[in-house]
Amino acid sequence: MNDLKKTLKEAFQDKDYRHGYVDEFLNAYIATQIKVLREQHKWTQKELADHAGMLQPRISVMENVNYSSWSINKLRKIAEAFDLTLHVSFESFSNRLAYIENFNRINLERCFFKDDSYFKESTEYAKVRELPEAPIGTNHSGSTSETSGFSTLGIGQARTSGTSGTSGTFISAPLAIQPQNLIYLADYNREQTQKQTKNKPNPEQINVSRQINERNAMIGVTR
């Protein structure tokens, strides 16, 4: 345990002290994070004010570590301007200690939506879903070009149940090789298999109808 954490663990035994300490820290935390995020965007206070529909002096006030009259609505506007989401939550003091201990520029920076790899991957999956349904044995890779930054992930020769005697499907999709993508592709593969199984007649039903036809022919019944 580092010195500050150890000292605060002892000092926080007093209720008035810990509330005073954390109140002051929280004000500094919010103000500093607004400044850090603005600098991460390379915006001036005026530019942030324009994006948030506020005036520049208001941003200046909110970036002051001594400001304490926070309004959730104003913070929501700021969050939207940064294309981030506002997180307001009641926390235990032990959790707050971690914020105090790790207070620095890097820990205040956030990944903006446009850079969020999770949503980029999702868009690529949506592209895969929009592809026309391929006949069994064909390969989509011819119709999709490789996207820069993403590798073409092929699920090679995956044999599907209920289609014995036919060749397997081969799906090639421009997705980053990450565990969550493997789940997306597994879902996609399962959907394709279900479609194929649904369209194909059940072999048992074929046998039964053939037997009925043969018996009818023997006894001279015609339809």
Partner: protein, 145 residues
């Protein structure tokens, strides 16, 4: 980019009689919640690059341009006076005098000047200071709500 932890050293001015003026002022003036507020700001000052924290330190008057003060707002507006150095101007701050603010006026009114006097004394007598201690430890018996 690797983050380098900043560590600023803080000191308290001790007068010719050996009294730690900041600790005495805090004991007489601050409630426990205010100590928490003040310790929080000082921890930020010690551990964070100052250009990261917007408006943490404020200047006082033109005549006392070396004297800065922290702003801690609460039921009592606390304004401890401090300066850079006085030995290492890059990595040190020294608390010189305790003040509060009422109706936008410092109490006592001449707090920046008195802080500057202490600073000049400290430059002449570098031993008139000690390592800053957290207020909580030294405020046994102080006013509690």
């Amino acid at each position: 980019m690797k983050y380098n932890k900043i560590m600023i050293n803080t000191f308290d001015y001790k007068n010719a009689n050996g009294y730690n003026v900041i600790q005495v002022w805090a004991k007489q003036t601050l409630q426990i919640r205010d100590q928490g507020r003040l310790d929080s700001k000082i921890d930020l000052l010690e551990r964070t690059e100052t250009n990261l924290l917007p408006k943490l330190l404020h200047t006082t008057t033109k005549r006392t341009k070396h004297i800065l003060h922290l702003v801690i707002n609460g039921e009592v507006a606390i304004r401890p006076m401090l300066c850079r150095g006085t030995i290492d101007f890059k990595n040190e701050f020294t608390f010189l005098f305790g003040a509060t603010e009422k109706d936008r006026k410092l109490v006592p009114r001449d707090a920046p000047e008195r802080a500057d006097d202490n600073r000049e004394d400290l430059i002449l007598h570098p031993r008139h200071r000690c390592k800053h201690e957290r207020f909580k430890k030294n405020l046994e018996g102080s006013v509690s709500r």
